[in-house]
Symmetry: D2
Subunit: 242 residues, 4 copies
Amino acid sequence: MASPLRVTVWNEYRHELSDQRVAAIYPKGIHTTIAEALNERGGVQVRTATLDEPEHGLSEEVLNATDVLVWWGHMAHGEVRDEIVDRVQRAVLAGMGLIVLHSGHFSKIFQRLMGTTCNLKWREANDKERLWVVAPGHPIADGLGEYIEIENEEMYGEHFDIPAPETLVFVSWFTGGEVFRSGCCYSRGKGKIFYFRPGHETLPTYHHPDVQRVISNAVHWAAPIASATIIRGNTPPLEKEK
Amino acid sequence: MASPLRVTVWNEYRHELSDQRVAAIYPKGIHTTIAEALNERGGVQVRTATLDEPEHGLSEEVLNATDVLVWWGHMAHGEVRDEIVDRVQRAVLAGMGLIVLHSGHFSKIFQRLMGTTCNLKWREANDKERLWVVAPGHPIADGLGEYIEIENEEMYGEHFDIPAPETLVFVSWFTGGEVFRSGCCYSRGKGKIFYFRPGHETLPTYHHPDVQRVISNAVHWAAPIASATIIRGNTPPLEKEK
Amino acid sequence: MASPLRVTVWNEYRHELSDQRVAAIYPKGIHTTIAEALNERGGVQVRTATLDEPEHGLSEEVLNATDVLVWWGHMAHGEVRDEIVDRVQRAVLAGMGLIVLHSGHFSKIFQRLMGTTCNLKWREANDKERLWVVAPGHPIADGLGEYIEIENEEMYGEHFDIPAPETLVFVSWFTGGEVFRSGCCYSRGKGKIFYFRPGHETLPTYHHPDVQRVISNAVHWAAPIASATIIRGNTPPLEKEK
Amino acid sequence: MASPLRVTVWNEYRHELSDQRVAAIYPKGIHTTIAEALNERGGVQVRTATLDEPEHGLSEEVLNATDVLVWWGHMAHGEVRDEIVDRVQRAVLAGMGLIVLHSGHFSKIFQRLMGTTCNLKWREANDKERLWVVAPGHPIADGLGEYIEIENEEMYGEHFDIPAPETLVFVSWFTGGEVFRSGCCYSRGKGKIFYFRPGHETLPTYHHPDVQRVISNAVHWAAPIASATIIRGNTPPLEKEK
């Protein structure tokens, strides 16, 4: 595709404004760090949107101009209005890609699209995380080595209450003895969805080059395709009936 | 398992009471026909429940005593109360099996668990339907031949807006030129879900021995297993931290 | 990827030389028709190879310079030498894409990579084939409508003895009452594999614009990614042992 | 099924005869330990077979009387004759279940059915292994807790060169920093296959009650179903042609 992919990076953007530790790491917000990382890698036209903007920054106009939406949320999942969740779900089913990051596992939109609680184990103890590539030919693993190592991360552990991923790209090892399915591909309607685990707000995870690379790869993997309108409802036969 | 599987067959039970053609085929309701078919095949203890009973017949007590729930609904999906849908979803995630039949594709509970619209093409023209077995070793295909043939059925056609099934058991051919993924297995939480396409209310589909056999097979396939309580939330490490 | 994808189109190339009907449709061979179709759509650098060339045209040198291999064979599967099959398998596991067409279902390389007989039903009676898109967001369906219609084709019917596809893109309807999983994605090692059903040698299927489009889409979908060497065998620990 | 499942436990049976450490743990061979464990849990009729018996103990007669075959091999994979591998493959495709244990990942029969090298990382350093259940509703996890813990085991690490499992039941954590997909379900033809990782010959793994339980669960999960003969090859239409 010659034209750049239109990406919107959505962030709750609360921790950065209320917690000095987070602000020190992401002074312009997690969304800005991610947007800059995507821009550096090229092939995209990125905008950002945050919870406290009108319509959470996700108007019909914005979504219509979005090929792939990246989602980070944590403490304010409950404040995301249901009509915006409905709108994002409709956009995904119509083909918009969706990249859900870290604590976004508990977002309304991810739960809605999965049909499960998306609950898990967690621990804030700065475990080492090593994300092993288990699908080494997958475009989301492009350019990586055998694993991604993150020196300090929040632990997420199984059982992660999600539908079995259509493709499992990463499995994480944690110091404390847990594992996690940390890179999970889905399709819903015409849309592609990727869940990517790392990214605790008090840690510099989104400055990690391999983490940035995965998000960039995922955004390109989730690009919509050109496809004809699907016909549903009452339809006449294509062949002569009996 | 020595003890019989506890099955609840749920039916909207409206067409049978308002439409003479339907009543002629299912005089005691679709639920009763299915319940009798399950009983004949044995290994089960079956009860029924219908929309117009208190709590739609699906009290906490009933669900706690249900291993597998069979669901038929059509014209009154919107009347199923959301708190009952929440309750059934919780039961499925905790391990209860769910068999969704025919027009149940548009039920709130199926949409909830799939995360998609579950929309499709349809036509009431008494097409011939031939359901080809594409997973010939799967327990739901036990005892069948190469295909099930139904002389007259409502057509359902692709694209069916569901997540890709974890196992696709049947694909239907229709006279009018359409195909359909008509036997679809999923897991959500600890629960197993099977969608089975045939069963238009004006046709004697649920008297068809192979259709009965599939529903019986599916009920046994969807039986819950004994498994320990899953631990979620903040948890201490199992290994010494760094 | 700025540089063009290096595609090798392999053809048994026997029917065209021995059967006037086939020669009339594919005067320069099926491989040439496919190569031209790929070239027209761009982004590729295509060469061809045929059975009766030295090493079947698939020397180590050729495979090392091939990103994606397209395979058409039928009457002479048994003449493909086992060491060449070994070589192609190694190349796929190392990342080369493989597109297997029509009667290639019975090729040694496809059977080898599937682990099954890849047997099926067939009939040369010029059924109409309608390939329904069941994965409407998948890159291989890019630019298609709801289905591809081919007025005359050889019938292939279920049960098709393949592992369940990782993604099922197309399901075919045939006049005679059969269905077929006709677009099947797999990964093996670092390589991506796509099986695409249509293409009987006595029919002009590979001149059909939608068939050409699917092969072109599949070739781009199957492109290898850049990935680090995988380490296997006896390896020291990354963490301190107990 | 009222009648007991007919299980054959196959063992290479060489380490036990040549290595005192192994003989001390499995004095009658790994196969006998597993057979006894299956018998204790009931519902089966178990025989054993070993490499050095005529036809490796796997005559046509034995396979015809086997519902599920359990396979342990390691140092002598190359001595298993190809015609016996062919025979076992045919039996699996016809419906026989196959449970492949530990170092059986490199057996000819597993490689044949997978289509890949089945290569992996390994280390004999008595890592702790913790197998986390990631499919908590699956029959193979019946009766387990959240994980199985094995105090000392050989490490197997990713990337494991297998096709993506149709269902992933267990993921292992190892002390040394690796993870592994250690419980993998497949179907091939009418047969079901389960790969289960633990079981190094110098360690008492097959005396572990949870390991025994998983093998017992897997054997029952892999039971063949009754299904009609599949028709392949040239077949007449079921519907009137054009």
